[in-house]
């Protein structure tokens, strides 16, 4: 009893009508994902002069010997954008293995054969990528199907369940028609998503970013190689690019924009909301390899007279940067840097304790023009996680965090 069938076996199977006459051979099969993401909905036959289309409920039995129909009202095949055609759209193409978090190339498809209302139906079960499927495909048509099945047994299987496959389609209209969701990708860790994006070709990459949620796109984009970042953003509409950049940390946003041609980055800044655009523009003023080019403008400050309770209250208004914040900076009335308190120390004092009593005894800061190499040396020397950056009149204007330093060291 046959419980599964491979796409390479399906292609070339003879199709017989009610009287046992041969109508033609299977050329391709299609799923209509909007209706059912698993069922093979159409079988396309190449017979005489044109292709015929067989609906799934017109079939009686499917086996390695052939397909027998139970209905003869066949229609000519005409192009249909709602169909995912397996040979044309899936075989040999790249897809994302969401569970394994990598980009793979499809070699074959495994169907499960099920009985529905007394007739056979095929459901896509797995996408095959390994050596076994490669062997199967290379010899298909050369050797008889049952023999191939026996010969391939010793080769290990390498397959991905169909639910974990994310199809790549660069046309946004067609993405909708094929019901391709980005939800599974959005649930991934941004760094994994970034690795996947780096492996894709340009058009798939751009299409993916065009359809991802802006916040996820921003997080993933931050993890991608700067060269690729710029080319992805340049391919998107200015509105979409602006939305994504608004979600990024200002220092990273400034780095991406600095990679682009000026006309383009200006247009994107124009599209952005005033406040984030202003932060980014300020950062763009600084040379890339100076302290100013490394710093972010998202950090938490409180007056030097504040208490622990007031510092906690100040952070509540700063929800956006909390995961990368580890220090609260104290400033005087003229916004000059006065002190720094590691956040962990806030837990040690009652809400009424003045922050001044918890601050680091030795405050290290750098001028905005300080060279990148010096900044790295200071991080290393003082074992810092955050380094405040000040302007010529000692006003606090930004903070460099350890993750920026790690990124630079890795690049070199």
């Amino acid at each position: 009893m046959l419980d599964h069938l491979f796409f390479t076996e399906l292609v070339g199977l003879k199709v017989y009508d009610l009287k046992g006459r041969k109508l033609g051979r299977v050329r391709d099969a299609a799923i209509v994902p909007l209706v059912n993401a698993f069922r093979v909905d159409r079988y396309l036959l190449g017979g005489g002069w044109a292709w015929l289309s067989v609906r799934h409920d017109q079939i009686q039995t499917i086996s390695l010997e052939g397909i027998w129909l139970r209905d003869e009202q066949l229609t000519p095949y005409h192009r249909d954008d709602y169909m995912l055609r397996l040979e044309r759209d899936l075989l040999d193409q790249q897809i994302i293995d969401v569970e394994g978090r990598k980009v793979v190339r499809v070699t074959d498809v495994t169907f499960q054969r099920v009985q529905v209302n007394g007739h056979d139906e095929l459901r896509v079960q797995e996408v095959d990528i390994g050596l076994r499927s490669m062997f199967r495909r290379l010899v298909q048509g050369v050797l008889p199907r049952p023999l191939i099945r026996r010969m391939m047994m010793p080769i290990p299987v390498n397959s991905i369940r169909w639910e974990f496959c994310n199809i790549l389609e660069s046309d946004p209209q067609r993405r909708l028609r094929l019901n391709i969701s980005t939800r599974a990708l959005e649930a991934m860790h941004p760094a994994d998503l970034a690795d996947i994006v780096e492996e894709l070709g340009a058009s798939d990459r751009e299409a993916l970013f065009g359809s991802l949620d802006s916040e996820v796109a921003a997080e993933a984009l931050s993890e991608i190689d700067p060269d690729i970042q710029a080319s992805i953003l340049e391919s998107l509409s200015e509105e979409k690019a602006a939305e994504i950049i608004e979600e990024m940390d200002p220092d990273e946003a400034a780095d991406v924009l600095a990679e682009m041609e000026e006309a383009r980055s200006d247009a994107i800044l124009e599209e952005m909301d005033d406040e984030p655009a202003h932060d980014v523009e300020e950062l763009l003023e600084h040379s890339e390899d100076s302290a100013g080019g490394l710093m972010t403008t998202e950090y938490v400050t409180v007056p030097h007279t504040a208490t622990v309770g007031e510092a906690v209250a100040a952070m509540k208004g700063h929800d956006y940067a909390l995961e990368s914040t580890n220090t609260v900076f104290l400033i005087d009335a003229d916004e000059r840097l006065w002190g720094a308190v590691p956040i962990a120390r806030l837990f040690l004092g009652d809400p009424v304790v003045p922050l001044a009593s918890l601050q680091d005894e030795r405050l290290v800061s750098v001028p905005v023009k300080e060279q990148q190499e010096r900044v790295i040396a200071i991080f290393d020397k003082y074992n810092l996680v955050a380094l405040p950056v000040v302007d010529s009149s000692k006003r606090l204007i930004g903070v460099i965090t350890a993750d920026d330093i790690i990124a630079i060291l890795r690049q070199n």
């Binding site: 990598k102 490669m134 340009a202 058009s203």
Partner: protein, 413 residues
């Protein structure tokens, strides 16, 4: 205005590498032998073929680099997507076979260039193989590329040694632009050999993969194209100096056939110890360089096309097929050189046959893909460019088929 220029210069330096390396490695041990032979036997006469060779090289290389920059995919990826697994599989198998014999030729180059200094091949080949292997397995793409770029600089050896033999520059200049056709079978065979070896299938795959790995985008393509063209020009200049050196040193004394590249180097000896040493150093460098690139490129291409993990930035256990194939090519390619009585010359001829059989397919697939709107978007060939491209492809195919015929005759003869 100035700012824009600065931007373009910055982009140019960021894309430098792939085109340059590919074109220069084209002058590997086999190429050097062909050019030395041309100069030693016919002097300055064959120089005129260099300009057409350069044009052919530019047209074929340009299309590959454009495909890489626009699609972000390798050539084997594109062939797989457009022509299916079976086609890809056979192309890959032929490529592995052709490249393996090329690797052998280059390890032979390493062995013979160092044997001139009395160092046994049983020492040099294993050490060379180990260097090649370590460089790629232990390096990252950026570090490997930096070393490769440095290696391209060593090709200056040929220019210096060419100048040192004091060739007849007037003749050299004249025959560079004046086509001379002798109706002599050996001469025609030589010309075909020169053109036929100038565009090899591996180059198309390597160049496109390197462009992708480098992350060159369609936006940076204008600069990347210049880089590719400059690379082809440099390759031609080096070939010119090799021919001129052999013409000045060997042909002007007594025209003769040379046995191998080291024979050519010895011919330079009367013109000074340095000319001779530089020629040898150039041969060693070229052989070592190609012995690095060819296995690497093969492993990349095969893994991409057949869907295995690949890339020098991956660890061994992440990409076992990639590293396995790479290692195997080096071990076999270097190993056979150590077998006494191994029919190396036949292997090199066989390599020309395999390359020749493969090249028409690769060029035709390439030109079909580069014209697909769905893949190349606004970057397909223009009609005029297509005329040039198909002509170039036809010329290459014609000459390569002729070379296959000649090689087959030599193998059986």
């Amino acid at each position: 205005m100035f700012k824009r220029l600065k931007y373009h210069i910055a982009v140019f330096f960021s894309v430098i590498g792939p085109g340059f390396i590919t074109a220069v490695v084209d002058n590997d041990a086999g190429g050097i032998f062909t050019y030395s032979q041309a100069g030693a036997k016919y002097g300055y006469l064959p120089l005129w073929t260099l300009l057409p060779i350069m044009a052919l090289l530019i047209v074929t290389q340009e299309m590959c680099s454009r495909m890489g920059a626009v699609t972000g995919k390798g050539l084997s990826d594109l062939i797989r997507e457009e022509f299916g697994l079976r086609t890809t599989f056979f192309v890959m198998m032929a490529l592995v076979a052709a490249n393996l014999t090329n690797v052998m030729a280059n390890f032979a180059g390493i062995a013979s260039s160092l044997e001139l200094f009395g160092i046994s091949r049983y020492i040099t080949v294993p050490i060379g193989a180990l260097i090649v292997w370590m460089l790629v397995v232990k390096g990252t793409y950026a570090s490997v590329e930096r070393i490769f770029l440095f290696a391209t600089a060593i090709y200056i050896c040929y220019i210096v040694s060419g100048v040192m033999v004091k060739p007849d520059w007037k003749e050299a200049a004249l025959y560079s632009v004046k086509p001379v056709l002798l109706f002599e079978p050996a001469y025609i065979t030589l010309l075909i050999g020169m053109v036929g070896t100038s565009v090899a299938p591996w180059m198309q795959f390597y160049l496109q993969a390197a462009i992708v790995e480098k992350g060159v985008s369609a936006k940076e393509y204008a600069e990347s194209r210049i880089e590719v063209i400059v690379g082809c020009v440099v390759m031609t200049v080096i070939a010119f100096f090799i021919i001129v050196a052999c013409a000045g040193a060997i042909w002007s004394v007594a025209p003769r056939d040379i046995k191998d590249s080291t024979d050519a180097a010895l011919g330079l000896k009367p013109f000074g110890e340095y000319a001779y040493l530089l020629f040898c150093a150039g041969l060693l460098n070229a052989s070592l360089f190609a012995a690095c690139i060819l296995p690497l490129s093969t492993a990349y291409t095969v893994c991409e096309g057949l869907g295995f993990e690949s890339g020098v930035n991956k660890q061994w256990n992440e990409a076992p097929v990639f590293y396995g194939l790479f290692t195997l090519l080096i071990v076999i390619g270097g190993g056979v050189i150590l077998i006494p009585g191994f029919p190396l010359v036949r292997m090199i001829l066989l390599s020309q046959v395999l390359n020749g059989v493969l090249l028409p397919f690769v060029l035709i697939y390439m030109t079909i893909i580069v014209n697909k709107k769905a893949i190349m978007r606004d970057w397909t060939n223009s009609r005029a460019y297509n005329a040039v491209a198909w002509t170039a492809v036809a010329v290459m195919i014609g000459l390569t088929v002729a070379l296959v015929g000649i090689s087959l005759r030599d193998i059986s003869g």
